[in-house]
């Protein structure tokens, strides 16, 4: 069954990269073969957990040996405005005997304990490699538990060894489509209800966007899954419009919601001034197309005009400070590129970027924006980045946590762009936050000091 599911997610028609492939290529799937001894990144279970754990009032129970949860819980910065249950780590902590006898009974007992003690609206049960190997039928256990205990108990079938984090995101999306979305009805609906997919409220980013939506008159019926409550996700099918953030990971949710319930979707981004404005504009337009009051468009334009003038005004002081400062972007993907024009607008120079995770479309877009001579590296090794920084080819590295120490050990400023960061960069205010963070680190007085030779050096 998992195999069929994998084929299905690999065959995503909503994915542009996939559309460009031949039939044969498509069948191979979109996860690249990992090279033993030279691989990096999380597993499918990790990806599934990233996508679902932000559902704050649900219990998230990991069925596996201690490594899967014990080494990883309490390490993500997704925020909740209410219930904190999602931050509690639950695991069956499978022991040797459990593996010999099978872990199904222990899993059932664990589900029962969690429900009795914490009374969550639902329990997500995560499959991992070891119980998958010994053949624990967690789907059956979940079904039985749901019936017996009277609560939704949802099996998340993404054991680590099936693939990458990205694949795990997709499988989490399938889980929601199979078991959650469409299982509850909202008390009221409005013509401006929307669902946002793929926004995890890291560092509270959603909260920089939500007030603007409210001001325009757009109601966030359901966010998958930042600051979400279980019932909100279950009601997502009553949205009038879906926005898919960070395109390719969860596009399957957007497409299938369109298939099943006729909800149109678009791909958008909250990062960068123009992308943010485009997103608000598209939301308003598409909602009006579906019958919402036409005034929505004017209100959106009003908010956009005000926020844009405000953001450029607030970015102006950074311009002289950023003069001549060169940024090396190392994240690839869509996110960083939607920030580029805002960064350049603030006076920074982007000297190059990695395009490992980017699609061909992304690359063409970059080429169009930046011209042919702009550096795009497909496979930039840590050693190469270190050398570039050491040779002062850039003044700051902006990347994910993985390359943090490449910059710091080269004694070059670094800024976190990925999920571990503590500052919100989404929306108009987020871009100002981002520039403030860049300015703070670039102008910090330590850089001169740490590069000084020691007293015993010439």
């Amino acid at each position: 069954m998992l195999r069929e599911k994998l084929q299905e997610v690999f065959n995503e028609p909503g994915c542009a990269t996939n559309q460009a492939k031949s039939d044969k290529e498509r069948k191979k799937g979109c996860s690249k073969a990992l090279k033993p001894g030279a691989a990096a990144g999380g597993c499918a279970y990790d990806g599934a957990m990233i996508a679902l754990q932000p559902i704050a009032d649900a219990a998230h129970l990991v069925h596996g040996p201690i490594a899967c949860l014990g080494n990883s819980w309490d390490n993500r910065g997704t925020k909740s405005s209410g219930s904190q249950l999602y931050r509690t780590g639950f695991t069956t902590d499978l022991s040797e005997l459990d593996i010999i006898h099978g872990g199904e009974k222990k899993l059932y007992k664990a589900i029962k304990e969690v429900i009795q003690q914490y009374d969550p609206p639902a329990v997500f049960v995560y499959q991992t490699c070891v119980p998958a190997m010994i053949g624990d039928d967690i789907e059956a256990v979940c079904k039985f538990a749901a019936k017996k205990l009277g609560k939704p108990v949802i099996p998340v079938m993404a054991p680590g060894f099936v693939g990458s984090k990205n694949l795990g995101n997709k499988l989490a999306g399938e889980t929601l489509l199979d078991h959650v979305i469409g299982t509850m009805e909202p008390e009221v609906t409005t013509p401006t209800d929307i669902c946002i997919v793929g926004e995890y409220n890291l560092a509270g980013e959603l909260w920089l966007v939500k007030p603007l939506l409210e001001e325009i008159g757009i109601r966030l019926l359901s966010c998958i899954s930042g600051d979400a409550r279980y019932h909100e996700v279950a009601q997502a099918h009553r949205a009038r419009l879906t926005m898919v953030v960070c395109s390719q990971a969860l596009v399957n949710i957007g497409r299938k919601m369109q298939e099943r319930w006729g909800i149109p979707y678009f791909e958008g981004s909250f990062y960068g001034v123009s992308d943010m404005s485009d997103t608000l504009r598209t939301m308003a337009r598409m909602l009006v197309e579906r019958g919402a009051d036409k005034a929505l468009i004017d209100r959106a334009e009003g908010v956009i005009a005000r926020e844009e003038s405000r953001v450029w005004r607030r970015l102006a002081p950074y311009k002289p400070r950023f003069e001549g400062k060169r940024v090396l972007l190392f994240t690839g993907g869509v996110k960083s590129w939607s920030m580029v024009n805002a960064l350049e607008g603030a006076g920074l120079t982007i000297v190059g970027t990695s395009t490992k995770k980017s699609t061909k479309e992304d690359k063409d877009r970059i080429k169009k924006m930046k011209g042919e001579e702009f550096h795009q590296w497909d496979d930039l090794k840590p050693r190469d980045i270190y050398k570039m920084l050491k040779d002062s080819q850039a003044d700051i590295l902006m990347s994910g946590g993985r390359s943090q120490f490449i910059a710091l050990k080269a004694k070059v400023p670094w800024l976190d762009l990925n999920q571990e960061r503590h500052t919100a960069f989404a929306g108009y205010d987020g871009i100002v936050n981002l520039c403030e963070e860049i300015d703070k680190t670039l102008s910090n007085p330590i850089w001169r000091q740490v590069r000084l030779p020691a007293p015993w050096e010439a």
Binding site: P36, G42, P65, D74, G89, E96, A110, S164
Partner: protein, 456 residues
């Protein structure tokens, strides 16, 4: 303390807010204390990613850690090909002196024969004879962090240490358990060198994980004990074994080299430090250096000044077993009541603990047991539970991701004990001095006026 409760039966099926970390992670840390080493997890890539993130968050350092990237097919058909490919790739790209391979739940459930795979690898790759390889069996589903660390150190001893015909005068081995921070190891080096002895630490995290500034980019450990020095351990006069969990490695070392072993179950506390110093003095035949004598005096003084604030304080401690033993022992020495000692795993050292309740459990057990206590000592994961029950948390152990300098905390020897005493004592002191703060917190009285107040 009439009714000591040992190992209350826990029938829980769901471990909640786990204290336990897995064996391979402990093995990785041990390998990181060897110079120019690259640890590898033989498992799915997620096993490595999680372990890596945890260690990065704790040490705030780049962590070299690779994976054999097992997928479904290789898991079922056998992982040898992935293992061989991983080792060869790492060798080509990074040229490490040692590759330390730790198995995981994935490969152990399948039952990969690591000894057999070692032989096969050596037969098929004679060109790589110069590369040291240590394979450790570290299934995620049994034992924990400490066991994995011990397994890796034992593996290193068995693979690399050579017996010697002559001893090198003044050379001593130190098997440094995982309850020692890089800062602790540095402190022990200072103490031992003060006697004119030359220590070889295995592993030596003080040289790799204490914040190195390399001249060039390296994807392997940035320091640590070198393979050559490990090989030379057979020529030492004695082996100082720090922590009960190092006993297995100590036995392997003694069996191989005939170097006699001296075990120290803890180095935190006055008497524990005295014993260590006395041993070093005897080994070296030298008097105790003036610096250590002064340090002892200040520790005694700190105990006199500080005991007011420790007396009968109710403290819950949840740490890896040997650190748990060291800390609970120290607290009991200071007159505090250890109301609960929670360990992630079952080990022999727990039998020796001086605590009212000893149990194998998780952070949710701590939250229950510490409800009436004055302090919790645990890792950073304990902060949420401590906040819920309004008890202060003193952070020790791993992971400690919400404090700077986690790797450089020192709690061994006279000086380290004094630091620990001050840190914990100051928590009590500030609560007692700050009336407004503690009067609101569910009935904590201020200790019968030891701070001169009459609030209740």
């Amino acid at each position: 303390m009439g009714n000591i409760q040992r190992f209350p039966h826990s029938a829980k099926a769901a471990s909640t807010n786990p204290l336990k970390m897995s064996q391979p992670l402990g093995a990785a840390l041990a390998f990181l204390g060897v110079d120019n080493c690259l640890p590898v997890f033989h498992g799915s890539q997620g096993c490595t990613a999680f372990g890596l993130v945890l260690l990065v968050r704790h040490f705030r350092e780049a962590i070299p850690l690779q994976t054999t990237a097992m997928d479904q097919v290789s898991t079922i058909l056998g992982g040898y090909d992935n293992l061989e490919q991983a080792i060869r790739t790492i060798h080509e790209r990074n040229k490490p002196a040692l590759i330390g391979v730790a198995t995981t739940g994935v490969t152990e459930t399948k039952g990969e024969d690591m000894a057999g795979q070692y032989r096969t690898f050596r037969q098929r790759n004679p060109a790589l004879d110069g590369l040291k390889l240590v394979f450790a069996n570290t299934p995620d589903f049994s034992g924990g962090f400490e066991d994995g660390f011990a397994a890796a150190v034992t593996g290193i001893v068995e693979e690399i240490v050579q017996p010697a015909t002559a001893t090198v005068k003044g050379q001593v081995n130190v098997l440094a358990g995982c309850h020692l921070t890089p800062g602790d190891v540095e402190e022990l080096r200072d103490i031992i060198e003060g006697f004119g002895l030359t220590p070889i630490f295995l592993p030596d995290l003080s040289l790799s994980m204490a914040g190195r500034q390399p001249d060039d980019f390296k994807a392997t450990s940035l320091g640590g004990v070198t393979v050559d020095r490990i090989a030379a351990m057979g020529a030492s006069e004695a082996t100082l074994v720090i922590g009960e969990h190092m006993r297995m490695a100590a036995a392997a070392l003694e069996l191989k080299t005939d170097v006699r072993t001296i075990v120290f179950d803890r180095l935190t506390g006055l008497e524990a430090s005295d014993r260590f110093v006395r041993t070093l003095s005897e080994l070296s035949g030298r008097p105790v250096p003036a610096r250590l004598r002064r340090q002892r005096e200040t520790l005694v003084d700190a105990m006199l000044d500080g005991h007011f604030f420790f007396s009968r304080k109710r403290i819950a401690v949840a740490l890896e077993p040997d650190l748990l033993f060291a800390v609970t022992g120290f607290l009991a020495d200071m007159g505090a009541r250890v109301v609960a000692a929670v360990s992630p795993t079952q080990t022999a050292v727990l039998e020796k603990l001086r605590a009212e309740t000893v149990m194998v459990g998780d952070h949710s057990d701590v939250e229950t047991l510490a409800r009436e206590s004055d302090l919790i000592v645990s890792n950073s994961h304990g902060r949420m539970g401590a906040a819920r029950i309004g008890v202060p948390l003193h952070r020790m152990g791993l992971p400690m991701f919400d404090r700077l300098g986690a790797g450089l905390k020192v709690c061994v020897g006279y000086r380290g004990t004094r630091e620990l005493l001050f840190e914990i004592g100051n928590l009590f002191l500030s609560r007692e001095m700050d009336h407004d703060d503690h009067s609101q917190e569910h009935g904590h009285a201020c200790g019968g006026g030891s701070c001169g107040c009459s609030a209740d």
